[in-house]
Structures are given as structure tokens and as C-alpha cells.
Amino acid sequence: MSALARLVSGLASGNIEVIDLTQTLSPDFPAISLPPEMGQAWPFRIEEISRYDERGPAWYWNNFSCGEHSGTHFDAPIHWVSGKDLPRNAVDTIPAAHFVGPAFVLDCSKESKKDADFLLTADWIRSWEKKHGRIAPRSWVLMRTDWSKRADPAAFQNYDETGQHTPGPDVGAVRFLVEERDIAGFGTESIGTDAGQAYHLRPPYPCHSLMHGSGRYGLQCLANLDRLPPTGAVILAAPLKIQQGSGSPLRVLALVEKR
């Protein structure tokens, strides 16, 4: 039996489960928001074209609009200035094979619950590896924080007068994952791959600056990470093929084998 035949029969028998890691695209889902003097991404919006009415009697459809970085979305290296000159750095030129890969899920939910500004460190990852094994090259590392369970948009954004407070990796963790583990990309549940206060780090926004600067990818606003095992899941994360796109909303699926 071929590997794909085994995959198909595993899916049919339910032994391989498909888990949706995607938030629903809706106008209510929090949009990324920059200081008002800067350029702004469009929030997700939807307008009805017709709904079995005088505008189109037998059909229902909508126009939608949003920025490339809306809802659950993919970040390509070209998104950040550090990755602007890399080869195959946009969503249309990244090799398709890179959109499928193993996932290592770091459960930081307890730490994030205690401290919204929790920073994941290299030491934290090393001690995780002692329990679960070494992170394989070209894999996705997903930081589980349970942030996706915050249904209230204000709690999800978590702003106060000093800015946004959401968990993320520190500079050392990003360097470790890129330089010593050679990962494909880093994924989070909150609105950025970087922590809310990451502009105070040196360099600012390390996950954008260093990860994209070395050709790695990002996934943001993921959901259902609590349903993934620490190791063994396979992620399908293919962004829309937008010419020179810096990212795109996408449907992220995980294949998980029942034990």
C-alpha cells in the first residue's frame, strides 16, 4: 500500500483526523491596527451582491474585501524589509512543497494565562525538547497560548494605554529556532507572530525581522491548537497565489493520527 493510499484509508476510517486551525472570517474578528497616522490594512468586510432577490433572482453571493493580513493568515518573507531581497519570498513564488509540513506545538497556555506579555525563550524550548524530542528541520513551530479562545474582540486585542499585550517569542527563541533548528515557520494564535510589546525588543519585532529575514514564514490567528499533539501533526497551509503578495488569509488544516 502506497503512503497516499494509507493516508486516504486513514482519513476514511477516521484514524487520521482533519482539524481546522482557522478562525472564521467576519467583520467582527479583530483587525490588525497600526497607529492612525500610518497606512492601515482593510478590515474584513462583506457586501451582498444578491440574495435570490431583484438583484439576482436565483443566486446568492457576496463581494468581500480585506487586507492580505486578515483573519487567520500567512506571512511571506517579503512582508518584512529584512526579507525583501530574498529569492522566492512572496506567496506566489514560495515553492508549494513548503505549504505542507510537520508541526511541533509548544503549549504555553499556562504561562500566557498568567502573563499576557509572556515571552517564549530558547531555554523554555530546550526544556520542552527534553520531554518531546528535538524539533525537526523545515517544520512549523506553533505556539499554543489559548489566545484563540478569547471570544471578546477587546480581550483578544488586549490593548491598554501602553499598547497591545499578547504573548510571543523573545529574540533568543527566534534565533534558536532559525539558526539551530532551521524551522520552516512560526505560528501563533494572537494577531501577530511577535508579542504585543515586541517593538521594545532588540531588534524590534524579532519574529518578523529575523524569521522573514532568513526566508521563514509566519502563521497568525490560528485556532484549535489545543487539539493538536505536541508532535506528529502535519500542517497544510497554502496561501492564495497573489502576485507579489506579502501574505494572505488562508484555511489552515492539520492532519492528526489517532493513537
Binding site: P27, S33, G39, A154, Q157, Y159
Partner: protein, 401 residues
Amino acid sequence: MLRTRLPTLPPGGRSRIALGLTAAAAQGRFELQQCADCGKVQYPPREACENCLSIHMKWRQQSEEGELLSETTLHHSNDLFFRERLPWRLGLVRLECGPSVVAHLHGDVPRAPARVRIAARLDRAGQAVLVAFPPEETPNMADDRRLREFTCDPKFRKVLVTDAKTPLGQQLVKAFVEAKAEIVWAGHAEPWKKFPGFDELGRLPQVTLLPLDLTDSRSVREAAAQVGGKVDILVNSAEHHRGFGIANRSGVETARAEMDVNYFGLLRLAQEFGPAMRSRGADGTASAVAWVNLLSVYALASFPPHGTFSASKAAAHSLAQCLRAEMRPAGVRVVNVFPGPIDDEWNQLLLPPKVAPEALARAILGALKDGIEDVYPGDVAQEWLERWRDNPKALERELSA
């Protein structure tokens, strides 16, 4: 009563000449025709001077003083509007400036003969009529049954402020509470963005917070589904303002965001809230009466340093004129507010005078109480309006310098 009465209107036909009275009353001024040759003031308006037959008739502001000579009370009318509002008091007033006029009488005007103050007010059909008031303020004067047919007083009424988060929005909510509005719905978008003072505002007993994002059709529809059938006065205070012309901002995104709030936001609101308000134009003593648009004096002529904002406000002004035509059959007045620069963070680098949000809120409440349709609050707006009226082309040149 089994159902909400359908709105009826007082007679609305006017000749083009007679519309001069309406044009002045829409801005709160009492103007009559005056002959440029012999100086005679005349009423009703005509093509030529009744004294010297000159055709040089100019609309000029006149003294509001007058004397009530006689009065009558209508107990019968074949006009549907007045038939539903009988009895109705009318009087003959001799104006200090010359002519004698037939005027509606405020309930507190004493029996003839008596001194009165006359004003031109817009009626439910949007046309100017003359109303005689007692010479001095009387207690609860604004509550007069007949006067409320001419005004949009927020007292006893339910009000929606579409963006209540901004300094202006907060001042509006406070002003409506002070004016004894029954309910004030305070619209707010993007709940994760905190504005100082807004949370306290929501604790006032008359105030109910209402999620409302004018860039999101579904949000507007849901808000209208919740409260649209009850809103008597809608104040669209939402605006998006960035200070750019064409050359100092590349791309269209900022301009598009301005259009999305300032123009399409109004369109979305009008489509969702307009129909219910039109159906409630005669809903008892607290009927749907007014729709207020926050425009800008830049809607008249572009202020090039804020050029894309000016364009969005000009578009909104045009749409507001369409809305006015569509709301008029229901007697719902569309009030357009054209402030000069507001004293807020987006006008930081403009020199004073700038309109304080509190003063702007006061001007909006004043316009509702006095039944004014076009409001130009602040020194800058007044001065621009004068220059624009005098010579629009000259103003364009002056603003581009």
C-alpha cells in the same frame, strides 16, 4: 388609536421667488424682500416692488419686532395636516419693517393687541412659514404643541449618536442628556480601541451603548434592527479625517478610508435607518423628526491641504441633499452641519480659531431646537460661507494660495 398615523405635510408649494424666505430660514435668518431702489420691504414675495415696480428686489435681514393686530382660531380645515392638529391659532401681525403678515401663533402669545417677535421657521414640508412668539421667554416655551411642529427639540425624544467615542461624540451625548432626551444610544466601533471618558459616559442612566461601525454594512443593519424603529433623531457624527492633499500622500488607501466612513457610511446608515424613520414621521408627540449630518465647510470648496477629506465631505454633502429630498415627504428634517476646523488631533497644526467639540455640540442642539437646516458653526465656517456666497471662484483661488 389603532396604528401610527402616516405623516402628512402642510402645503409645500412655493414659487422660486418665495423660496428666498425658505433659503434664509434654513440658516436661521429672518429675511424679507426689500426694494433696492425705493427701500420698501414687502411680503408676500413678488417679482417686482409693489411700491415702485422696480425688479431689483433683494433678500435682506429684517427686524423681528411686530404687533399682533388680531387673531383667529381655526376649528375646521380641509387640509389634512391642519385637520389633524386643530384647533390652530393664527394672527395678523404688523411688522416694524412695514408689511402686515399672517403668522402661526405660539401658545404663549397674549391676546391681541400684543407685542410679538416674529421668526421664519421651516415647517414639516421644509418650507418657511412665519411664526409669532411672545416678546420674552416663557416657561417651557419649547414644549408648545404647535411649535414642536416646527422644531426638532430633543426633549422627550430618542437619539442615536453614531460615533459617540470621539470628543465631539461624547459632548453630543452629554448635550442630549442635558436637553432631556429620553434615550441616547451611543454608537461605538472597534471595541478594542479605548477613548478616555467613554466608559463613564456609558454609565449615565439615559445612555445605552450600541455597537455600530459605519464601514460594516452588517453592523449598520444589526444596529438598525435593534433600535431603528425607535430613533427620533439620528446624529451622524462619525468621520474619518486625515490631513492630505493629492501630492503628499501616495496611494488611495487614506482617501478610500475617508470615503468609506464619510460617504459610504452615510449611505449605509440612510439605507438601514431611513425607511423606519420615514414611517414614523407622525408617531405621536415624540415622532421621528431629524437626521443630522456632520459635514464640513470644506464641502463647499476644497481646502487643498486636506484635499481628500474635502472631497469626501463634498460627496457626503451631495448625498445628504438626496437624503433630504427622500426624507421630506415624511416630515423628517435633514440638518447639515458645516463646521470649520474642529479643535481635535487631526487639526493640530492649524492655527485657531477652531471649533471646540463642546461648542459644535451646542450648535447642533441649537439647530434642532430652532428648526434650522444648514448650520455653519464657528468663525471660520461663517467667514468662508460669506466669501463663498459672494464669489465661489474667488474663494477657490484664496484657498489655493
